[in-house]
């Protein structure tokens, strides 16, 4: 059995007195999309910079693509693709020129360059813009070019550092599709993101990092399942509340909903919905509205860290490790543990 493409053991990085990464352990299997999830300053970019040889670990070890990130750094670099959020693309160069430069850096022969470059430009939808300077590109186009640059040498392991931060929804979906396609072709992807939805949509497994430590790791479905039963919410006439509660309580713990609604955590899972509807009907309760909400990664994140990413799935709290501005986080409340619809 071959070695996993990304392995980190007790990886630690200090910056003076600040402990950015406090000993993380990871094993990412071949062919996975692994989501590394956390707010700004949680330590995810520092971890990725260590795994991509841009930063030396203070202690611990890591092997990427079969090579040690410290002692065999050059071999690691030859075998990985890296698209870093904070690594600018030279705005004075054209897309085609940057691809040509990247090809030379990876030792791709000039005879193969044009074919490879054309293929990548077509793949990311930039053929028409290839001769234009990057300064004229939109944010989405730059990100797609960045992805193409990271793929020039056909790496088996790809690091994408917040690839869709700041992109509009359409550009984000386009990039997601491309990541899925790459993964289908066999590329192992480590994706850092602060977007819960992105991790949920793309990742086979995720790790949540907070204050430099991994606080949860697993498949998104398993992590969400660990939160508990899905919540069924019904809307009925107020005069039928007591009868409805009596029926619902036989399926699980009642949960408060907004006014006019009743919630219940279905202990038997979503498959019980049909039984609930039948029993309510038998009890003479007439449903006006019904919905079922599965636990979300938002809930997993809140459960693991004790706070929610501000503004639900999109905006994380600001600050750096140990320096987080507590005023920006939303404290975990009992109510907020029940699934995203409860909160919205």
């Amino acid at each position: 059995m071959s070695e996993s493409p990304i392995i980190a053991i007790d990886l630690v990085r200090h910056f003076g007195d600040v402990q950015a990464v406090k000993g993380i352990n990871l094993e990412i299997k071949e062919g996975e999309i692994f989501g590394f999830l956390g707010p700004n300053g949680a330590g995810k970019s520092t971890a990725v910079r260590m795994l991509t040889t841009l930063l030396r670990p203070t202690s611990g070890t890591a092997r990427v693509a079969g090579y040690d990130v410290v002692n065999q750094a050059d071999m690691v670099r030859r075998n990985i693709g890296v698209a870093l959020q904070d690594a600018a693309i030279d705005p004075l160069m054209t897309g085609a020129e940057l691809l040509a430069l990247q090809a030379v850096l990876y030792g791709i022969p000039a005879t193969s360059l044009k074919k490879r470059s054309d293929e990548l430009l077509e793949r990311v939808g930039l053929t028409a813009a290839a001769r234009r300077r990057v300064s004229t590109y939109s944010g989405g186009m730059r990100r797609r070019l960045d992805l193409a640059l990271s793929l020039i040498h056909q790496p088996k392991v790809l690091f994408l550092d917040e690839p869709t931060t700041g992109l509009d929804p359409m550009s984000r979906l386009t990039l997601w599709e491309e990541v899925r396609r790459l993964n289908k072709d066999g590329t192992t992807v480590m994706l850092t993101t602060q977007y819960l939805e992105e991790a949920d949509q793309l990742a086979d497994r995720i790790a949540i990092i907070d204050h430099g430590r991994i606080v949860r790791e697993g498949k998104p479905a398993d992590l969400k399942a660990s939160i508990g039963a899905p919540t069924l919410i019904i809307k009925i006439h107020a005069d039928q509340n007591e009868r409805a509660k009596s029926v619902l309580s036989t399926f699980g713990e009642l949960r408060p909903g907004v006014e006019g609604e009743i919630g219940v955590g279905l202990q038997g899972g979503a498959t019980q919905v049909a039984d609930v509807v039948r029993k309510l009907d038998e009890a003479g309760v007439h449903l006006q509205h019904l919905e079922i909400n599965e636990p979300s990664l938002d809930d997993v994140f809140a459960e693991a860290t004790g706070y929610r990413l501000e503004g639900s799935d999109n905006a994380p709290p600001a600050g750096d490790n140990g320096l987080r501005d507590n005023g920006t986080v939303e404290p975990l409340t009992k109510k907020s543990r029940w699934g995203r619809k409860q909160r919205r």
Partner: protein
């Protein structure tokens, strides 16, 4: 199947950087820094025009100083001034190149290069090669623009070629020193902050008057100022003709400074990489 040499070897069969790959990388990075420079006319034009403006101004203001005791025998002040003009232009052009390196560090392009299997020395040399080429171009432009106004070169065509080489070497030397600042600080502002210092050093050198016409502390400072020796090497070609002595001074002085400066810059590069 795409014929990508490295991809075919993915899994890590490649050993050390080959010299030819490092050279290809350095050449590609040099091409990038050159293209980048010429795509920013706002950076190129001033470092071409201002020295010419200063030369014209100096010629009309100090034209009669050529008769002062200690002034070498010249056809015109511009013939004397040509070396100072070249040095002035090249100094400022080199700051621009080093500031671009600092910008690469600030905006993360440097990280992009480091994340690839790029020759570390190639990153530095690639950037300096662009500045060096620009230094050569500046020298040629200054010579050919000022020549019709009296900036003759006694050494003739071979002398002009030697001046271009000398200008390129001065650019390399100063560019390497400024790149050390860029690598140490990672700040384009810090690099640009050296501009006034260079300006002062230039005025406290023999760029505009021969040391023989100076006196007191001014003469002492000019005697200690390395810029004086860079200027005087170039000036020897302008005034003395294409002699072995003049050519050696024009080439060897900047070459020696460039070697030392490259050592300092490389040391700063290693220091920055160690911090990562």
């Amino acid at each position: 199947m795409i014929d990508v040499a490295l991809a075919q070897k993915s899994g890590g069969d490649l050993a050390e950087h080959s010299l030819s790959l490092s050279m290809r990388q350095t050449f590609a990075l040099a091409k990038r820094s050159t293209l980048e420079l010429f795509r920013q006319p706002a950076l190129v034009v001033p470092s071409m025009l201002f020295p010419l403006f200063f030369a014209m101004l100096g010629n009309s203001s100090f034209g009669r100083t050529t008769s002062l005791p200690g002034f070498p025998k010249v056809d015109s002040y511009l013939q004397f001034q040509l070396a100072g003009t070249i040095t002035q232009g090249v100094l400022f052009g080199s700051v621009t190149g080093a500031a671009a390196l600092a910008t690469d560090i600030q905006n993360g392009f440097f990280d992009r290069l480091l994340a690839a299997p790029t020759s570390r020395t190639g990153i530095l040399l690639g950037r300096l090669a662009g500045s060096t080429l620009f230094g050569a171009l500046q020298t040629a432009v200054f010579v050919f623009v000022l020549m019709p106004f009296g900036a003759s070169v006694s050494a003739g065509i071979p002398g002009v070629l030697a001046m271009i080489v000398s200008g390129a070497l001065i650019s390399l030397a100063v560019g390497a020193l400024m790149s050390s600042v860029a690598l140490k600080t990672g700040s384009a502002e810090a690099v640009q902050g050296t501009f006034p210092l260079l300006f002062i050093l230039l005025f406290f050198s023999s760029a505009f008057f021969p040391r023989e016409t100076m006196s007191g502390a001014y003469q002492t400072i000019a005697g200690l100022n390395p810029i004086s020796y860079l200027v005087e090497g170039l000036r020897a070609l302008s005034l003395e003709g294409f002699t072995a002595s003049a050519t050696a001074r024009a080439i060897l002085v900047p070459l020696a400074i460039a070697i030392v400066a490259l050592g300092i810059a490389n040391s700063q590069l290693r220091s920055r990489l160690r911090k990562h």
